[in-house]
Amino acid sequence: MSFSLPTILPGRGARVVALGHYQPSRIVTNAELSSRIDTTDEWIRSRVGVRTRHIAAPEESVTDMATAAAVKALEASGLAASAIDLVTVATCTPVIPLPNVATQVAAALHINAPAAYDINTACSGFSYALATAHHAILAGSARHALVIGAEKLSDWTDWNDRTTCVIFGDGAGAAVVSASDTEGIGPVVWGSDGVQGSTLRVESRDGKIQQDGQKVFRWATSSLAPIAMSACKQAGIEPAELAAFIPHQANVRIVDLIAGKLGLGAAVVARDIIESGNTSSASIPMALSKLTEQRQIPSGAPVLLFGFGGGLTYAGQVIASP
């Protein structure tokens, strides 16, 4: 595929070279939820699009899931752990505030002395984390980065609130990003709207996720398509030329409405929410990893990643598929 991304510094770039994902083994169906709370499979599928979600075991942490996904991505890259010099984890659900998840993952993988930091921009986190790793590589501050999105939303879900508990799931996805003499990651288009921040929130340390679903839906379906288009424009590509569109898996109706506005051609549109639920910052790398594993995206083909959610925040970039 003849497609090239704009370079910022001549001869210097970064590419996503390998991916991996991990989901907890326990699958919770809509039927199981319907037996516990007042909802139905039909209601959940029509409003949110979810059929199943994976839920972590009580003792299974964000760090465990992040590590499991990172192990797979590292294996797929063929790199030794010692080659990694930057680890970043997008998460809004760490169990403890410190040490951060990134240092714990690095320790578990025996990665020696990497730059290691967490990023919390909720559902847009993976695209933010990927951008910072990309920038670090372009600046010469790193050569091989592990970029991870991992969430245990089940800890922060009110399992008696039928408007939210049907939406979320747990999981992790990881990418290895390496320095390259050609550019494989396009310019990030990122931003936020803190004025609307309270539409998606956890109000206290022992609180649970609350959302004003209609407001979030309105924002997502009216404001985001132009931003996704802008990420394509910055990358010098038309949406019609994309091989895949991997938006945050917020709600299948949001995914389909944004996809419908972009003027995509034959692009594969990620709809992993159907089997995985909304996994916040993990949703994009999980969906990308799965589609790549299933060989639904040709190597080197242009893929638009687009995260959006709590904050409200958003970030997107076009990458060359590994």
Partner: protein, 84 residues
């Protein structure tokens, strides 16, 4: 829109929007019908209907006002007033 739409044109336009977004039979989209109870427009589809109506009739319909629009007739008179 240079000329404000008449109530009949707004009603017709809403019926078309409702058909496209929520599969509502246009013959059923009469003033007395409740969006949620009679026409079975769910809350997210209602958001889509409102956004489509904004574009079509060139009016702003903020979230706070959407709650008050219970029936097709409510929406027709709201849009009609906002246009002028």
């Amino acid at each position: 829109m240079s000329q404000p739409a008449t109530d009949a044109e707004i009603r017709q336009g809403l019926a078309e929007i409702l058909e496209e977004i929520a599969d509502v039979d246009p013959a059923n989209a009469t003033d007395d019908k409740s969006f949620t109870d009679d026409l079975e427009v769910d809350s997210l589809s209602m958001v889509e209907v409102v956004m489509a109506a904004q574009d079509r009739f060139g009016v702003e319909i903020p979230d706070e006002d959407v709650q008050q629009l219970k029936t097709v007739g409510d929406a027709v008179s709201y849009i009609s007033k906002r246009q002028k």
